[in-house]
């Protein structure tokens, strides 16, 4: 018998309060009408306020939310002192309640018991999530923006386990279904506060700008879904301690004489402050936490539904105190974990932006007190929903709705996390220049390029395209091999002979037959003819030769027939230079009467590399070419490359397109890195879309429709297979790791890779797809060849090897 006689009446009063609350709940806790009208007021009153103030409402509805409209008032000592005083009084009352409880000898009967096994697992998971959140290990970079959910799920499990250890039960195990319903309710609740924050802009998120709208929506929803369960679990945990369970039960109650009038007053005040908040964000910044609470609580009182008033009348202040304390405790942990997280929030609060505890001004923590009460009001609605209702049973039961909602949340989490984690981890290997993976890719493409019967496997339905693909397979194989040899000189013994095979493949009579047939002249036997340009065959061949010879010269292995390939590179370069100089325009024809800017990118890239290898000065030619290219080949509206030009007047003969631009920026990079970057930015801006960790590139700018062809590959919803694959190189050249991994994830998903110990094939790519993706995914990353611009540094780094990563 530990309880004193003095406190027995209060203790029994508590039991009767609970009984009375249940007994008198004759109306459903949340009627449809109240939900509708309250929701309407909560959403539209802030918007109404900004409209009355003459501000455009649409700026407050942008998604993802931006925090750029409000510039806050500076720090103010008077306001700080006033709020600090109120905070001290509130905390004093809470502290006094806890102390009063400690002085009483009542006991909740809760004792520390054995922690359940799932609680131990929760602690282990929490530790792991915390380590991941606060460290910047490169291998975990992909998940470091997403640590909020695992951290807070662990917190919920651990606090529930602690409650279970003390009490023998907890909401999580006792009412799993109802408890689970708190997750979707929590997401709605915090999205609402995010909406209100647009009007006062007291916090904003950092390191989330790379998320697309969909990603932002999905990840934010998942994060927000943990808030309410965390607070509710903490309340239940605090109740296992006698000082907190009994400290706020007093003999001094409070009972309003006219509760419905008070409720009406709360609605009017809450509505007024919400409506004023948007127009005057500085003086009303704190009402973000009070306004919704007043409206919701007032609505319950006016509708004569269950509220805390009967509890307060009997002197039970726990419904106010415990949620406030729980939210304050959660707030401390929120701010603590936020401090070292990669994706985090920062505060910008008027008048009180000083004396930070973690990222938050210390007075900001006061906001957690009303927020805790708000959480409890919503949690109570959810936990009581569908219970004790006199309304007819709905066709779909509450249980079904909760199960479906929770399962949908799990599905959302899975679709946001699993495909991304699965596919981007593979793409990360390519970004990191994984030696083994690059060797596998090289051996895979060599299986095609080294096969004399390769031509028979290419059946496009057109002999010209079959020839182009045969040549393209050898050409991109050579480019990829050159890039891998430069990146991994230790592989040169194995790969340099493969390079020679690819060169031979490009030079073979049957490979160049497609070009000879169209021009009616063999491209290599008519190098002295200035009128037959052969821009495609000679440009690409020369570029692959230049890259290969550069790589071989920097490696330790001798290239078979090196002198022959050197002489051929010199001869083709000289021929191309002569043709450019003999022509009234620096752009050459691909086929008679056909001019493609992308093929000219290969021509100029090859001449730039040749100049560097031989120490030649082609500054004048290159500058002239760039000027003409920017003038005639780039669409000023989009910044993308025209796909084709009319050779006579150099007018656009096709639209600006993704496949040409993405390949062109890769080919032109050795000559003009700045031009390459400009094109890449245009591709990102005009053509690239991202979705849950995957990226796709359009063939035509947004709003422009068009058909696919041999250049673009098939278009799926306007996205081009070729442009998406070519963009891998642009992302590497410009150091855009995030886009590269997203594009790589798409390639992994659609490419159906077949990986063995020694080879790697993209099953849906075939020979040409294999070879293109090999070259694009091994392009030099930004910074690996910083002085690649031959205009300023011709021949400077020859044989030095200083640019290797």
């Amino acid at each position: 018998m530990r309880a004193s006689l003095f406190f027995y009446p209060t203790h029994f009063a508590l039991q009767s309060i609970v009984r009375n609350r249940r007994k008198h709940m004759c109306k459903p806790p949340l009627s449809r009408h109240r939900l509708f009208w309250t929701g309407l007021a909560l959403v539209f009153l802030p918007l109404l306020g900004v409209r009355i103030a003459g501000r455009p409402a649409h700026t407050y509805l942008e998604f993802p939310p931006l925090t750029q409209y409000v510039s806050h008032a500076p720090f103010s000592w008077p306001v700080f002192s006033l709020i600090a005083g109120l905070a001290l009084i509130t905390l004093g009352l809470l502290g006094a309640g806890a102390l009063r409880g400690a002085g009483r000898e009542l006991d909740t009967g809760c004792r520390w018991g054995r922690l359940p096994r799932w609680g131990v697992a929760g602690i282990a998971f929490l530790t792991l999530a915390w380590v991941i959140a606060w460290t910047r290990l490169p291998s975990l970079a992909a998940v470091q923006c997403h640590t909020f959910v695992p951290l807070w799920l662990s917190y919920i499990v651990v606090v529930s386990a602690l409650t279970h250890a003390r009490k023998g039960t907890c909401l999580l195990t006792r009412n799993t279904l109802r408890y689970a319903a708190l997750f979707p309710a929590s997401a709605v609740l915090w999205w609402y506060f995010e909406y209100l924050n647009r009007f006062v802009q007291n916090w904003h998120y950092v390191n989330v700008s790379d998320f697309t709208r969909t990603e932002y929506g999905v990840f934010a929803t998942l994060s927000f879904s943990t808030v309410l369960p965390a607070v509710v679990s903490t309340v239940e945990f605090l109740r296992t301690f006698s000082p907190l369970e009994y400290g706020f039960c007093t003999r001094r109650g409070w009972s309003p004489r006219h509760p419905r009038l008070l409720g009406l007053f709360a609605i009017v005040v809450g509505g007024a402050v919400l409506a004023t908040m948007g127009a005057h964000p500085d003086p009303f910044f704190a009402v973000l936490w009070l306004g919704p609470l007043l409206i919701w609580w007032g609505g319950r009182v006016v509708a004569e539904q269950d509220t805390i008033l009967p509890s307060l009348a009997k002197g039970d202040w726990r419904p106010l105190a415990l949620p406030a304390l729980a939210a304050l405790l959660c707030g401390f942990v929120w701010e603590l974990w936020n401090l070292g997280s990669l994706a985090r929030w920062e505060y910008s609060v008027p008048y009180v932006q000083r004396f930070h505890l973690f990222a938050m001004p210390v007075l900001g923590y006061i906001g957690y007190l009303p927020f805790g009460m708000e959480c409890m009001v919503v949690a109570d609605e959810v936990m009581q929903a569908g219970r004790k209702s006199s309304e007819p049973r709905p066709a779909v039961s509450w249980n079904t709705v909760v199960i479906l909602g929770l399962s949908a949340l799990a599905a959302l989490a899975a679709v946001a996390m699993v495909p991304r984690a699965w596919c981007t981890s593979q793409a990360a290997k390519l970004w990191n220049d994984d030696s083994h993976r690059q060797h596998q890719l090289a051996e895979g493409v060599h299986e095609w390029a080294g096969d004399p019967a390769l031509g028979d496997a290419l059946r496009t339905g057109s002999s010209l395209f079959d020839g182009e693909w045969l040549f393209g397979t050898h050409m991109t194989t050579a480019m990829g091999l050159a890039q891998v040899i430069e990146c991994h000189p230790e592989l040169s013994d194995a790969l340099v002979p493969r390079l020679a095979t690819a060169f031979s493949g490009m030079r073979r009579q049957d490979t160049r037959a497609f070009d000879a047939k169209v021009w009616n002249a063999d491209p290599l036997e008519t190098l002295d003819d200035p009128d037959r340009h052969h821009a495609a065959y000679l440009g690409y061949f020369n570029l692959a030769l230049g890259l290969g010879l550069r790589a071989a010269s920097e490696g330790d292995s001798d290239l078979p027939q090196a002198a022959h390939w050197d002489a051929l590179h010199d001869a083709i370069s000289a021929a191309l230079e002569r043709r450019i100089e003999a022509h009234d325009c620096p752009l050459l024809d691909t086929y008679p009467g056909e001019m493609y800017p992308v093929d000219n990118c290969a021509v100029i890239g090859s001449l730039a590399i040749h100049a560097r290898l031989r120490g030649l000065d082609r500054t004048s030619l290159l500058e002239n070419w760039e000027r003409e290219f920017r003038r005639t080949c780039i669409d000023p509206a989009t910044g993308l490359m025209w796909q084709a030009l009319d050779p006579e007047h150099r007018n656009p003969a096709d639209r600006p397109r993704g496949s040409g631009t993405t390949l062109g920026l890769y080919l032109v990079a050795p000559a003009f890195p700045d031009l390459s970057r400009d094109l890449f930015q245009a591709v990102k801006r005009e053509l690239t879309d991202r979705w849950l960790g995957f990226a796709l590139v359009r063939e035509y700018a947004r709003g422009v429709s068009g058909r696919g062809d041999i250049d673009s590959g098939p278009l799926v919803f306007g996205y081009s297979v070729s442009a998406t694959g070519f963009s891998l190189a642009g992302a590497r050249l410009c150091g855009d790791r995030r886009l590269f991994t997203a594009l790589g994830a798409t390639a992994w998903l659609a490419g159906a890779p077949r990986v063995t110990e020694t080879t790697f094939h993209w099953t849906t790519g075939g020979p040409i797809g294999d070879a293109i993706l090999f070259a694009m995914s091994t392009a030099p990353r930004a910074g690996e060849r910083p002085a690649d611009n031959p205009v300023s540094t011709a021949g400077k780094h020859r044989h030095s090897g200083e640019n290797r990563p």
Binding site: V18, L171, N175, T176, L177, R178, Y179, A180, V232, V235, E236, S311, R318, P319, L322, M376, A379, D380, M383, Q384, R387, N399, V402, I403, L404, L406, S407, A410, A411, L412, A413, A414, V415, V418, P419, W422, C423, A457, L458, R459, T460, G461, S462, F465, D709, I710, G713, P714, V721, L749, A750, A752, R754, T763, T764, G765, G766, P767, I768, G769
Partner: protein, 96 residues
């Protein structure tokens, strides 16, 4: 007992997933071993149409495996778990 009930719910899904995985692997190996130059880049006409159809089939399968299956599995497993463990409504809902 609960484990058996959950397994009974998701058994059909697991079998379907295994079948899709098997189909995917077999077709990929057959295409690769028979040296058919399947390509998404194939334009049109003749064998190219067949190749493009095969490639599209691959992509659809992989989309099912990588993008559809994980959320579907999560949906099924969570609904089974919640239905088994939390389906019975117990009387104590009072938070305070």
């Amino acid at each position: 007992m609960n484990r058996r009930r959950i397994l009974a719910v998701v058994k059909g899904d697991i079998i379907a997933l295994m079948v899709v995985l098997l189909l995917h692997s077999c077709l990929r190996e057959w295409v690769f071993q028979s040296r058919i130059a399947v390509s998404l880049l194939a334009p049109s006409g003749g064998m190219a149409t067949v190749h493009a159809a095969l490639a599209a089939w691959f992509v659809a399968l992989r989309f099912v495996l990588f993008v559809i299956a994980p959320p579907y599995a999560a949906f099924r497993i969570v609904s089974a778990l919640v239905a088994v463990h939390g389906g019975e409504v117990k009387p104590d809902f009072t938070l305070l």
